[in-house]
Symmetry: C2
Subunit: 250 residues, 2 copies
């Protein structure tokens, strides 16, 4: 029961998949859990040493990297606090999950987690739904990459990171944004970028020089300000979301 209580104080309780489970399943899950700290650069799953972690992120950001044969990396997804990390049912995952920042996670033993999915159908159902959502998100992001200009891509990523790090429902998709009744309309907010320029470039299918230039442009327009040590202040959130959609004014 102490474990269960610990979960009730969990920072990401409201977002994490745990909240969608029945009490019984959540208890069983809590029993097999252990908090861990993981430092930036560590591989969570995939890669040569076939790591295979299952975890929920408490704090920090994980990047999903596709390592190309020519050595270049493509980041195909980011995972934020409250999200599940892991690839069930597969030994050699085609991509590598790596800690982009120092991490605090709620880790499960891989085998036990997969077994629990077998016996607890509500857990499996929850994971299934999340995966379908991830698939939608990945496709959304794909069309972002495919057609948008460098400035739009950078702005989109910044909006994504800003909203995710705030714990708000981050939906870059236009339809969803229109449907939702526009929550707290924050104009300014400050945070640390979880990614280097190189990583941002790898996310967006750009070169780091291009990313740097776009940052410069956004700074010149008074939309963002960069601090030291990856610090970023968004001074005009509305302007940023406009750039994200290719609107130069208004």
């Amino acid at each position: 029961m102490t474990l269960r209580i610990r979960c009730q104080h969990c920072a990401v309780r409201s977002v994490a998949p745990c909240s969608a489970l029945t009490a019984g399943t959540a208890d069983e899950l809590a029993r097999m859990v252990h908090r861990r700290r993981i430092s930036a650069g560590q591989v969570l799953y995939g890669g040569p040493n076939k790591a295979k972690t299952f975890a929920i992120i408490i704090d920090g950001v994980v990047k999903l990297v596709n390592v190309q044969p020519d050595g270049s990396n493509q980041i195909v997804g980011l995972q934020f606090p409250g999200e599940f990390v892991g690839r069930p049912f597969v030994e050699g995952a085609p991509l590598v999950a790596e800690a982009a920042t120092d991490l605090e996670v709620c880790a499960f033993s891989g085998g036990a987690f997969e077994a629990l999915m077998q016996s607890r159908s509500d857990l499996e159902r929850t994971m299934f739904k999340r995966t379908l959502d991830d698939l939608d998100a990945a496709r959304q992001w794909m069309s972002m990459i495919a057609r948008k200009t460098a400035e739009e891509r950078v702005a989109n990523l910044l909006v994504l990171i800003a909203t995710k790090l705030r714990g708000e429902p981050a939906d870059v998709g236009v339809e969803a944004a229109a449907a939702a009744p526009a929550a707290a309309p924050v104009a300014e907010l400050e945070f640390n970028l979880p990614l280097s320029r190189t990583e941002i470039a790898e996310c967006l299918g750009l070169r780091l020089e291009t990313v740097s230039r776009q940052f410069a442009a956004l700074k010149a327009e008074g939309i963002i300000a960069t601090g030291r040590r990856r610090g970023l202040k968004v001074t005009d959130m509305a302007g940023l979301t406009n750039r994200a959609q290719g609107l130069m004014f208004a």
Copy 2:
């Protein structure tokens, strides 16, 4: 039992998810099924009229389209014979599934299918695994779009279509290709493209003119030949896969 027998003669039996089910579940599924013909352009799910089809493709190709606010379309996925079409658990899917060609499908009543997933955990498990695979594939494709040149993209898509239409395990991913023991190494093969130049462009994040020029280039190199009415002959499969990876020679 007649239904079950009909399934045993199904053209896509070996690839379709049905084959992974227990006999009992497959029977129940077969009971709620009806063959349908759908003509090119019809919407299977998503879109304004909120269509919601669940089906397995027997013949033809389905495109998953992301309609942008500015009117441009981005194709974020293609589905081939043997694959499942549908988006469970959601009313307004963020994207539209549309018949790219005339279709023959094995359709289920939406509600009944979702209900059957509830009661038959092997069905749900199968669908879950497929979705995870789709997610991997989508991310693979994303990194294709993000970094490759026009020629590489076109070649990649042609390889994908060629292999999928042949019923072979089409894995553009390099690791998987290396792992598999390289099945029948066909040098030549002929088929009809399921997509127009415009649609190919929408798949690859290019303009139709660029696609057309790349086709011309591949023709000039003697790698493909185009016939009338979307006919395509791949005369040098090895050459094509090389272009797909950016290798100009060898």
